[in-house]
């Protein structure tokens, strides 16, 4: 029996997953806030409680995410790309590409059938390709972030918008609202622009069937619809896609625990 944990220290949220012999026992999450270490400790304690385990029961903890150096209790770390590749192959045996769209960063990674990382492209330098973009636009449109997706699905066309930059798109949205463009079409334009940026990473890796979408933004129906249209392909989306990084880390932790036992 192997019990392992993965901690994903994201820019916006920390995610914790505890696994037992390749089965997910529980998932917890918390806002990173100003003290990500404390946030992760809390999430971890909560996870142990949910799984009815004590700290000593967990044989290995692996951390990942942009704030990985602030992770508590970590026995080892893994890159975000490595964690994504593991998680993709765990959720879907046909996975060859994993797209991870988080709050401030997006990645596309290619993996083999064992979940080993083969190649990757990262965008961490521009907010227009990450969740922050949708948040900023929801604010500009004065709609709830959760409603952006369903709103965009009602549109049959997209408004013309210069959405290569969050800052420029903000002022574009304001003038589109003044011109009384329907919010549905503006929302669709925003998701289309984001899908364009994200898909360009996938094209750079070479497009193969078996595309998995994970990360917090994978729950947004508007983004998913735009990305499907853009790639002309179905997307494989796991349950609770936000936890993919933590699942990948937990899988690696299990592997490392087994190796130590031998």
């Amino acid at each position: 029996m192997t019990i392992s944990a993965g901690i994903d220290m994201g820019t916006q949220r920390v995610k914790v997953v505890i696994m037992k012999d390749h089965q997910i026992l529980c998932r917890t999450q918390n806002f990173s806030g100003f003290e990500p270490t404390k946030a992760a400790e809390q999430a971890f304690e909560e996870a142990l409680l949910k799984a009815n385990l004590s700290r000593q029961d967990v044989q290995h903890v692996t951390a990942t995410g942009s704030g990985v150096e602030m992770a508590p209790f970590a026995d080892s770390t893994v890159s975000m790309m490595g964690a994504d590749a593991q998680a993709g192959a765990y959720f879907f045996s046909s996975a060859r590409t994993v797209i991870d769209v988080g709050a401030e960063e997006a990645r596309a990674v290619n993996c083999n059938e064992k979940g080993v990382l083969v190649d990757f492209v990262v965008n961490a330098r521009c907010a227009a390709g990450a969740g922050t973009f949708i948040e900023a636009m929801a604010r500009a449109l004065e709609v709830e972030l959760e409603d952006m997706g369903s709103l965009s699905l009602k549109a049959e066309r997209a408004s013309p918008i210069n959405a290569s930059c969050v800052i420029f798109a903000e002022s574009d949205v304001v003038s589109l609202i003044h011109r009384e463009e329907p919010k549905t079409e503006i929302a669709r334009a925003i998701f289309d622009a984001m899908a364009e940026r994200v898909s360009s990473m996938v094209y750079r890796l070479g497009i193969n069937p078996g595309i998995v979408l994970v990360g917090g933004v994978a729950k947004d129906v508007g983004f998913v619809a735009s990305l499907k249209r853009r790639l002309g392909m179905e997307l494989l989306i796991p349950e609770e896609p936000m936890f993919a990084g933590a699942v990948g880390a937990a899988l690696i932790a299990a592997e490392r625990a087994r190796r130590r036992q031998q």
Partner: protein, 301 residues
């Protein structure tokens, strides 16, 4: 902040202005032309008498390009005896150039900026850095102000006037003061590490929380902006003489840092009030010059 009267103060809001050169005589004019530069943030109109600046206006672009063009030219005509019928030729330029209703022709802002820089500083200008509201251009030109090559960033707010407005608003420093304030630091800090304005803003908030004084945060941000602009100039190749046009030519904090990074001084700005050679209106000046050339060509036929 206690002396603010109602509502949030708009720190990004820069002053609009209009000037007429009383020294030029309208009655002896042979060719009257205008250049209207509708930028993404500012609209500029320049009226020329026989190829010399007579009056001009600089104002914010509204939500409608053609209205902004009309307003800018209308304001440039204020306190002159000119009516629209007096113009022999009008050229529109800038981001909204196709929406300048009274223009006889539209010309790209790249060509107009090079031409305008040639008028403002003379034939020695070879490299022009134009920092507009939503784009940055590095232009190489010959001694006649003709474009030889150029590079442009209009996809990203980093290093543009808009990026400057965002930080002025965040730090609550009026946009017209940011240059001076940023130079008040005793030691130049490391630039913020994020290129993206959204992330740089988050970084700036973090630095403030760490206890950095406002001017130091501003300097770190402006250093990063200047690096971004200089990169474009270096890519196009910086040849003497070097000049800076557009709204940021007034920002001493940007001008000095760019000069520092490039290791090259930019030509000093002429006395704008006396000469009408305003680097902010360089695009509109170039457009008005092209208007004159086009009119002369038309009457020769």
């Amino acid at each position: 902040m206690g002396n603010e009267e109602g509502g949030a103060k708009e720190y990004w809001r820069w002053g609009e202005y209009q000037r007429v050169m009383p020294s030029r005589d309208l009655n002896s004019a042979e060719i009257i032309t205008a250049g209207v530069d509708v930028g993404s943030v500012g609209s500029k109109a320049v009226i020329m008498i026989d190829g010399k600046v007579y009056s001009w206006s600089v104002m914010r672009t509204g939500s409608n390009s053609s209205d902004s063009a009309k307003k800018a030219l209308g304001w440039a005509m204020e306190n002159t005896d000119l009516t629209l019928k007096d113009f022999d030729y009008i050229v529109g330029t800038g981001y909204g150039r196709v929406n300048v209703p009274m223009a006889n022709k539209a010309i790209t802002e790249i060509a107009c900026h090079a031409k305008g820089a040639n008028y403002i500083w003379g034939p020695t200008v070879r490299t022009v850095l134009d920092v507009g509201g939503q784009d940055v251009k590095a232009i190489r030109c010959d001694e006649t102000g003709k474009v030889v090559s150029f590079l442009m960033n209009d996809k990203c707010a980093a290093g543009t006037g808009r990026g400057m407005e965002v930080i002025a608003d965040l730090l609550k420093i009026p946009i017209e003061d940011v240059g001076e304030v940023s130079l008040s630091v005793t030691e130049e800090p490391e630039p913020v590490s994020s290129t993206c304005v959204v992330f740089a803003k988050t970084e700036a908030v973090g630095l403030l929380r760490k206890g950095w004084p406002k001017e130091k945060v501003l300097a770190a941000y402006m250093r990063a902006m200047s690096l971004r602009m200089s990169e474009l100039v270096e890519k196009v190749g910086c040849e003497k003489d070097f000049v800076i046009t557009g709204g940021q030519s007034k920002n001493i904090g940007i001008v000095q840092r760019v000069e520092n990074i490039l290791g090259m001084k930019s030509l000093p700005v002429p006395n704008v009030e006396e000469t009408g050679r305003d680097p902010v209106a360089a695009g509109a000046i170039g457009a008005a010059l092209y208007a004159k050339a086009l009119y002369e060509k038309a009457i020769k036929r």
